[in-house]
């Protein structure tokens, strides 16, 4: 038995090197100055100061959060009914539907996002459909709407699958018990089904919000060059500007904010599931 514990040792070393050290490096770069080499550096907080004193940067951060929140809300509103429908269908249909939601997730996210460019571009099929209904020359590509669409498209399956899992895990006898106690289907949904699916909803929110807030290729592909989110800012700092220290600082800020939010969400979840502890 003891022998098995040694099996973990190589991975512990590996993860220290490949998972912990990179984070430490980001922190180090974000706190130092001068350079793309580690040899000559001095500690400084100037990158953080630079970020937090510039209203433009803060606005970008704010807008990234706003669009992520919008994405999350839309995904929730669309995803819940779909997940509910899947969970209520018979077993065979259920597995087919889950599979058909999963298949697009297997196809590269970039490819799927790229596919929207053709659909949304001027003279594309969607514009033609809109024109048919009397909305002529609506600009679709390179708008916030396009970015939002791209995010919802990319992240909606996560929401559906998480909520669906939570709904499927729910014991059917709970619903019967509720009906037995006099609750009609709507009351059963509001008082039993929804409260019990909250963990799935929270997981779904996490899985949508997290990539949405840091996304950079969706805004770039569908929002155009003038559409900038915090993820684009980080990419820009590393790939184009070459200010790694400042880029690291932005990354740190984002990582820390996300971590705090996750902790808050988990806390809230514990409270709703409260009495378990």
């Amino acid at each position: 038995m003891k022998k098995f514990t040694t099996l973990a040792v190589p991975y512990i070393v590996w993860s220290a090197l490949m998972l912990v050290l990179p984070m430490a490096l980001i922190a180090l770069y974000s706190l130092t100055n001068q350079g793309n080499t580690i040899i000559s550096f001095s500690f400084t907080l100037e990158h953080y100061v630079k970020f937090f004193t510039d209203p433009d940067f803060l606005l970008i951060l704010w807008r990234s959060f706003v669009i992520a929140v919008k994405t999350t809300i839309i995904c929730l509103l669309l995803g819940y009914p779909v997940a509910y429908f899947i969970a209520r269908s018979n077993e065979k249909l259920q597995s087919i539907l889950v599979l058909s939601i999963t298949i697009p997730m297997w196809i590269n996210a970039l490819v799927r996002t790229y596919a929207w460019i053709g659909l949304l571009s001027d003279g594309g099929i969607i514009q033609q459909i809109l024109a048919f209904f009397g909305f002529h020359d609506v600009q679709l590509l390179y708008t916030e709407g396009a970015v939002l669409l791209g995010m919802v498209y990319n992240f909606l399956p996560f929401m559906i699958l998480q909520i669906n899992t939570a709904l499927c895990k729910m014991d059917n006898s709970l619903l019967e018990a509720s009906a037995d106690l006099g609750a009609n289907p709507l009351q059963t949904f509001l008082r039993v089904t929804f409260p019990l699916s909250v963990p799935g909803v929270i997981n779904g929110i996490t899985l949508v919000f997290l990539p949405a807030v840091s996304s950079f290729f969706i805004p770039k592909l569908l929002g155009g060059g003038q559409y900038f989110l915090i993820g684009n800012m980080i990419e820009n700092q590393f790939i184009t500007v070459g200010e790694w220290n400042f880029g690291s600082a932005i990354s740190m800020i984002m990582a820390i904010i996300m971590m705090l939010m996750m902790m808050a969400v988990r806390k809230a979840e514990d409270r709703t599931q409260g009495r378990k502890e």
Binding site: D171, S173, L174, E176, A177, S178, A179, D180, L181, G182, A183, N184, Q187, R191, V192, P195, L196, V198, T272, Q273, G274, R275, K276
Partner: protein, 526 residues
């Protein structure tokens, strides 16, 4: 006092989508203030019937009347009955209080009334002070009580309980049985209780409904069901019993095991085949000469309050064969690097066609091994020339390296012993074994059965095998070469007896019982 009819099942038929029929036309009346138990093994349809009543399943045919009103098409939330679910189905996101208050809140009962009622319920189930507990952290028994309170607080006319005690451990289950009975008597409503546990049913019910494969077998009080089972199935399901095939010679006379006994039953056709049940506690063990039957004590098990004694009154079928114990006849290869051994064996001529290399190796117990490491090697070649007639035929076994041993196959026409009365037959062969093989055997009885190829079967159905016991009088620890008798036998008629008196295994005893202890039942019709 004439009780009011509350629920009527009228010819309920339920068919699943795949075509299996779970309920085959159930007719059942349930009265006010009754504790009714639906009893039967899993799959008998009892839970289905309950779920139809609860409104969770539609019937395929038939109607359900509740208080004189047809309710088959009402959804569950409009029915005036409540259910305690098998795994309780407590809402994990709600506290004990909120769980119990659930139904009242749905009905928009005012807050103070809810408070009052919930508290009263908590008192009834003995969980005062638990109202803010998380239900998923409670013990099974406590959850059970909450589930009952949650249902009862709505003041239903009927409470349905779907195997509510199945998940509890034995001690808790007993406790809850009394608790449920007490609650039912206190609130004075009808309980319909589903279980597969006959003891539970006997303890708690006013009325038991025994079901089997979608049909009701018997409806009655616990006493009626126990003492006057309607058929073999009910008798078997309720309590332990000795059930035998018998013939009703005439009224008040029943005959089994070649003896005619007095009984209290009448109204059968002369010589009608019937089933007879005698409860183990109704049989007494007496001295041989005082017994209505005699037999040998086969086993005695101490069961706490009583002994459970098995007595064989009619012996089984036997067959005796010769065991040839021979010396060691291993053959070594020239270089001493391998050894090979095998035995002669007998085989029935009818089995010849099934004989192949593998079977011959198994029957002769042919083995080859390395004497230094004791590691087994495979037998590479088996040579034989068998004709489809009686006689002796040589067989040669060789290893890959050519170490060879030669043995004999005796093809015989082995007769088997038939016992028409007991509907069985038994057969075994003479066999050859070395002293070493006998000494090395770890489970000698089983090995001897294998070596002798002993088999027993039902005459009516050759594929149905019968257990065989082995008897011999040699001392396996100190066996020498020679020929020994080995007897194989089946068990005959056995009676199970519950008594407080001890008997010795092997003792000859007499059995006695009163005429009223013999319960005659019609043969079941399938």
């Amino acid at each position: 006092m004439e009780k009011k009819k509350l629920i009527e099942f009228r010819n309920i038929v339920k068919t699943w989508e795949d075509g299996t029929v779970v309920l085959k036309g159930i007719n059942l009346d349930i009265y006010e203030n009754e504790f009714v138990t639906l009893l039967g093994p899993s799959g008998c349809g009892k839970t289905t019937l309950l779920r139809i009543l609860g409104g969770f399943l539609d019937t395929t045919e038939g109607s359900v009347m509740f208080d004189g009103e047809e309710i088959s098409h009402k959804p569950p939330y409009e029915r005036e009955l409540n259910t305690v679910f098998q795994r309780y189905a407590l809402f994990p996101h709600l506290s004990v209080y909120e769980n119990i208050a659930f139904g009242l809140k749905i009905k928009k009962v005012s807050k103070d009334v809810i408070d009052q009622k919930v508290m009263k319920m908590l008192k009834l189930i003995g969980l005062e002070g638990y109202e803010n507990k998380n239900v998923s952290l409670m013990s099974g028994g406590q959850q059970q009580r909450v589930a009952i309170a949650r249902a009862l607080v709505n003041e239903p006319k009927v409470l349905l309980l779907d195997e509510p005690l199945a998940a509890l451990d034995l001690k808790l289950r007993k406790e809850m049985q009394y608790e449920l009975k007490r609650i039912q008597q206190e609130v004075g409503i009808t309980f319909i209780f589903v279980t597969h546990d006959q003891e539970e049913a006997l303890t708690m019910s006013d009325k038991i409904v025994v079901m089997k494969q979608g049909e009701i077998q018997q409806v009655g009080t616990p006493e009626e069901i126990y003492n006057e089972p309607a058929n073999k199935y009910v008798a078997n399901f309720i309590g332990e019993s000795n059930i035998l095939s018998a013939t009703m010679v005439e009224d008040y006379k029943v005959r089994f095991d070649d003896i005619t006994f007095d009984c209290v039953d009448f109204g059968y056709k002369p010589n009608e085949p019937v089933d007879v049940v005698i409860r183990p506690e109704d049989i007494d063990i007496v001295e041989v000469e005082k017994g209505k039957m005699t037999g040998e004590v086969l086993s005695v098990l101490f069961k706490g309050v009583h002994y459970e004694i098995m007595v064989e009154t009619v012996p089984g079928t036997t067959v005796t064969v010769n065991m040839h114990v021979i010396g060691n006849r291993d053959v070594s290869s020239a270089d001493g690097k391998e050894k090979i051994s095998a035995n002669d064996f007998y085989i029935d001529i009818e089995e010849l066609e099934n004989l192949d290399d593998k079977e011959i190796i198994a029957r002769s117990d042919a083995q080859a091994w390395d004497p230094e490491t004791d590691e087994l090697m495979s037998i590479a070649k088996v040579e034989y020339d068998l004709k489809n007639e009686l006689g002796q035929y040589p067989v040669k076994f060789s290893t890959a390296n050519g170490t060879t041993v030669e043995r004999t196959i005796f093809v015989v026409n082995q007769p088997f012993v038939k016992n028409e009365k007991a509907n069985e037959a038994i057969m075994a062969f003479n066999f050859f074994k070395t002293v070493d093989e006998l000494l090395e055997s770890q489970a000698l009885d089983t090995d001897i059965k294998t070596w002798a190829n002993a088999q027993g079967w039902k005459l009516s159905n050759e594929d149905q095998s019968i257990d065989i016991f082995v008897d011999y009088d040699f001392d396996p620890e100190n066996i020498k070469e020679g020929v020994y008798k080995v007897t194989f036998s089946t068990t005959g008629r056995e009676f199970k007896i519950h008594t407080t008196d001890y008997s010795e295994v092997g003792q000859e005893v007499g059995l006695t019982f009163f005429p009223e202890d013999i319960h005659v039942m019609s043969k079941m019709v399938f």
